[in-house]
Subunit: 335 residues, 2 copies
């Protein structure tokens, strides 16, 4: 058990390397501040496909193919691909990968899927079970609105706390050796439900899970916030981020200057009228696999903690009066 | 890479041990031939809960608690729990586990989830990342019918090729050492889509994935069918099983005498009027974690291959005219 550190954390003896990553972004995302970091910006969010589900599968597939190409790898060089998405029964991933020929582990972690896949893939590579493994996830504004809220044509109003599902996908390739940032630690979250029932306020529902995982991480590793150049959450957005920073301060950890959130970074919140910020599996995926890993490779960050958070309800459980369980998985990436 | 054997198979140097397992079954399942193998048979499929989704979460939770108790373990002794279910966004697992406090990796593999979770958990335990890990999944006839087909009150007719979703759940606990059967090999499936579009014939949609994984397993390991006492599929049912046996014969592997299917075993097919047999994540879970592992512990089987299969569409993709992608994950269990 020499990999284990504390209750919920793994520290790798041979940290897997992120040898490549790729990010695809939609039209609105391409108008945001991170536009130059994406490998491909859609000029048409439909990708020319006849349904939004097919469009999402197309960007999922594209992200994987770009990441493989950038790594100089063929699909047969990759032992596993791990990932999923938000659409019922994770069909974006399944239709995207049905011809690719890579052994597949399907995951569902809602918007935490990017770091869930990084956590598991790191253990598969670190444990010598795979030479290379791919992690991928996606979300699409139009397929998500249709499934979780209203058809776009309905033109429903959004509350100020609502977040905007990112149209985007990201994929990274992990390997046992090579050049690139390394995944050095993994802290796996528990399901936390603090009784939030407002599905237009996902940030508030997910923040308690983020707080739980971050506290456990600091306890398990003995690290302090200042040991990181960046503490990046997946898509807490403006409201969830404020809750995280405020409540972590109450726990004795001041992360205010070190924290950012992919949902706050991907859009110009005011100018692009996205209310509380971006969300969706593709939010963390496209920001991490695009902007953040590029910045790490440039030397802007040496050591970061990335923690994607997921809200684990469905539309029916909310109609049945249930509250929203949530989860957060953290990975430490070092240059 | 000394764990790898061939293209898609892992062979464990220190095979993880299944130290306990538990199975919960519904009322109809408790009238079938395996009634004596379940740890708990429901006298009321609702479990006294106000919704079928809550009922399914209840049996998921029960399976985990029974397995922990039989292993003499508390939740805090288990480093990870891996699992999921068929309900949109895997809410049965999420609501079942929201108070349990075990770090959670959510999986979606449709009816392949039981062996997907066994595969990943075996690598986490085998790799030294967890001392103990739990694998769990569930399905419920009433929550599945409602979501995938029609509300029960509708009284829709079923085609002869239709399968009956099992009300059941199963959980097993893996450990680095201890007494019990061991997971010695894992062969991970690719997503295979042979163009089947009939959602009332899941067996036919999933059989090609089962054939692909089984062929790869034999190629990777050099094993022959006769090296196993039992080749057990998850829920191909009567039609899918016939396709598997027939097409494997064409590939040079005669598995007719060695093959059985959880969907055929759990019901008395004719007397219980279940058409092509049982299905659902809970089918393989309850048959494996109940009957099969008990038989292994008794010495009936020494070496078995278990391969759960999953159909990876959703109801909407079928309405959109898509075919059904499928996957099959195999694990070898030895006494």
């Amino acid at each position: 058990m020499n990999h284990r550190k504390g209750k919920q954390t793994i520290e790798f003896e041979n940290p897997p390397v992120i040898i490549s990553s790729a990010a695809i972004a939609g039209q609105k995302e391409a108008q945001g501040p991170l536009r130059d970091s994406f490998d491909c910006c859609l000029s048409d969010d439909s990708c020319g496909e006849p349904s939004w589900e097919r469009s999402e599968a197309a960007i999922f597939h594209q992200a994987v193919m770009y990441a493989l190409k950038k790594a100089g790898q063929q699909p047969e060089d990759v032992h596993y691909i791990l990932g999923g998405d938000l659409i019922n029964q994770c069909v974006s991933a399944h239709y995207a990968l049905r011809n690719i020929g890579i052994p597949f582990f399907g995951l569902y972690g809602a918007c935490s899927t990017m770091t869930e896949s990084l956590s598991l893939a790191s253990m598969l590579v670190g444990g010598g079970y795979a030479e290379k493994a791919a992690c991928a996830t996606s979300s699409h504004f139009c397929s998500s609105e249709k499934q979780f809220r209203n058809p776009l044509e309905y033109g429903g109003q959004r509350t100020p706390s609502a977040q905007w599902t990112v149209t985007g996908a990201g994929c990274c390739i992990l390997a046992g050796d090579g050049a690139g940032p390394r995944v050095t630690q993994v802290t796996t979250g528990k399901i936390i439900d603090k009784g939030i029932t407002d599905i237009s306020n996902m940030g508030a529902a997910m923040a308690p899970a983020a707080i739980d995982t971050l506290k456990v991480h600091f306890n398990d590793t003995g690290a302090r916030p200042e040991d990181y150049d960046l503490i990046l959450t997946g898509d807490l957005g403006v409201i969830g981020s404020d809750i995280l920073v405020e409540l972590m301060k109450g726990e004795g950890y001041d992360i205010a200057e070190l924290h950012n959130d992919c949902g706050k970074m991907i859009f110009d919140i005011e100018a692009q009228d996205v209310h509380a910020g971006g969300s969706g599996c593709g939010c963390c995926a496209s920001v991490l696999c695009g902007h953040i890993l590029k910045e790490m490779n440039k030397g802007v960050y040496d050591r970061i903690l990335v923690m994607a958070t997921g809200a684990l309800m469905n539309t029916m459980t909310i109609q049945q009066g249930e509250s929203i369980p949530a989860i957060a998985h953290a990975v430490v990436i070092e240059r």
